[in-house]
Symmetry: C2
Subunit: 281 residues, 2 copies
């Protein structure tokens, strides 16, 4: 695996092999790899002739500079892991977004967060020129924003969204999990239990979103976790649904101690058959 640090360097590497060794796959990351990242790199390796893993810390994806400062970074370790899976290039870069890094404030992440993500992903896609780019389902809203961006701007790339990877205790993998004490981590597992409670309610026939989240809210409350949001939203627009039908997404976000955690689960309610299928979080 080669480590490249400049756009010009990367383009020089890719130009002679573009279109000659199968599709180029891009896995955009902020480093601090866990099994979720590695699952994306493996998927890219299976599907693509050339695998580029980009590695950088995007300041706009952090709510405050404190969060940024403690984000775990270990480029050497990340490089070794990517190399082991068979990535061809590690593109270690910092992407600056003028005018977007400012103004991040408030309890939840603002619209600026996704403007920043969209700009950075656009830049990375333009830098690398991949045929496929891989994202995790855990960041469901990010994946939707990027799908929309790529469609609206006719970018010549396919976006593949891969399943959320979880620890044995059900917690969705996140670099921020490392900041949880044992006690806080136990509390954090209430997020996936809450999503499961919603799925159980829907499986039992509940179609009202407020009623369907009651048991989930109790699950969080009993763990001492107050959600930033816990909702059933449209998979197309990420806005709350008034009735559970078709594909809906159960989403939850909560701050547990020092870490802001998110999770989600797809709920599929066939319109006529009455069967309900879902991937359990």
């Amino acid at each position: 695996m080669r480590i490249v640090r400049t756009i010009a360097g990367l383009r020089a590497e890719l130009a002679p092999i573009r279109g000659r060794q199968g599709p180029i796959g891009l896995v955009p990351t902020m480093g601090a790899f866990h099994d979720g990242h590695l699952s994306l790199i493996r998927r890219a390796r299976e599907q693509c002739g050339v695998v580029v893993v980009s590695l950088f810390v995007n300041p706009t994806q952090f709510n405050d500079s404190g969060d940024l400062d403690v984000y775990p970074r270990d480029e050497l370790r990340d490089a070794a892991l990517a190399d082991e899976i068979g990535a061809d290039y590690l593109f270690a870069t910092s992407v600056s977004v003028s005018g977007v890094s400012d103004g991040l404030e408030g309890e939840h992440r603002g619209r600026e967060h996704f403007d920043g993500v969209a700009t950075v992903v656009t830049k990375l896609l333009n830098m690398v020129g991949p045929e496929v780019a891989y994202f995790g389902q855990k960041d469901a809203q990010q994946a939707l924003v990027i799908r929309r961006l790529v469609r609206d701007l006719d970018m010549p790339v396919r976006i593949e969204v891969c399943p959320t990877v979880r620890a044995d205790d059900g917690l969705a993998l996140s670099s921020r999990n490392a900041r949880l004490s044992a006690a806080k981590r136990e509390r954090a597992t209430s997020l996936h239990r809450a999503l499961r409670a919603i799925q159980d309610a829907v499986l039992a026939g509940e179609r009202d979103p407020v009623a369907a989240t009651e048991a989930a809210l109790a699950e969080l409350t009993s763990a001492g976790v107050e959600p930033e949001y816990l909702a059933l939203v449209s998979t197309d627009t990420m806005t709350p649904v008034s009735r559970i039908e078709g594909d809906v997404l159960a989403v939850v976000a909560a701050r547990v101690g020092p870490a802001r955690l998110i999770d989600n689960a797809l709920i599929q309610v066939p319109a006529l058959a009455g069967n309900t299928t879902m991937r359990r979080p």
Copy 2:
């Protein structure tokens, strides 16, 4: 020359030849070719292995639907002209920009105009994937917006801005000129005379922008033309300069009868030598 009407069709045509027959050049146009367009296609033909001319009417570039309705369109004639110069592909498409087409109003074009141009050019660049894209200096602000866009988003394309092409009477070529009566056309030539008057003032040593535009304003007034703007602006920011030094752009816009016309001239004042060079409009 092949005429292609879909993104998929164009990509299928270009995929096997990309990187194999020299650079791909894109000339984005709205059709109704005049010698200005043809000069861009010729430049692309000289420099590139594959020349794509895109042809579409972008609703956001028109101030009102009346202007759009009377815009001359003749695809067959345009196709014949592009073919004659040796273009390889005519990409005849309509590009929709949701949420950007609305809200165009007021005397001058709003910021929406350039947002629309930026979005459409981004989409065209993503559709075609050219190594070089060609634009005319007549639309100086548009060229600047596109250069900035390409730089900010790291798009893998070189933007080449080609000189304004003029009729024998000095009028900058524009599809809208066809809508001028003989009398109105005579009045319209005051735009380039105004730019020349500014150049003469600067050549004579004038460095104050207000004083340098006095004779130019008189030129327009005597022709019965009231400018929307007549100014000396920075080539980097398109904002008025307080003193004429280095590279500045003389810009003018005016409505003459049914047509809104624009023109510009680059003025270069060497910082130390005292020599002034300029391309006469």
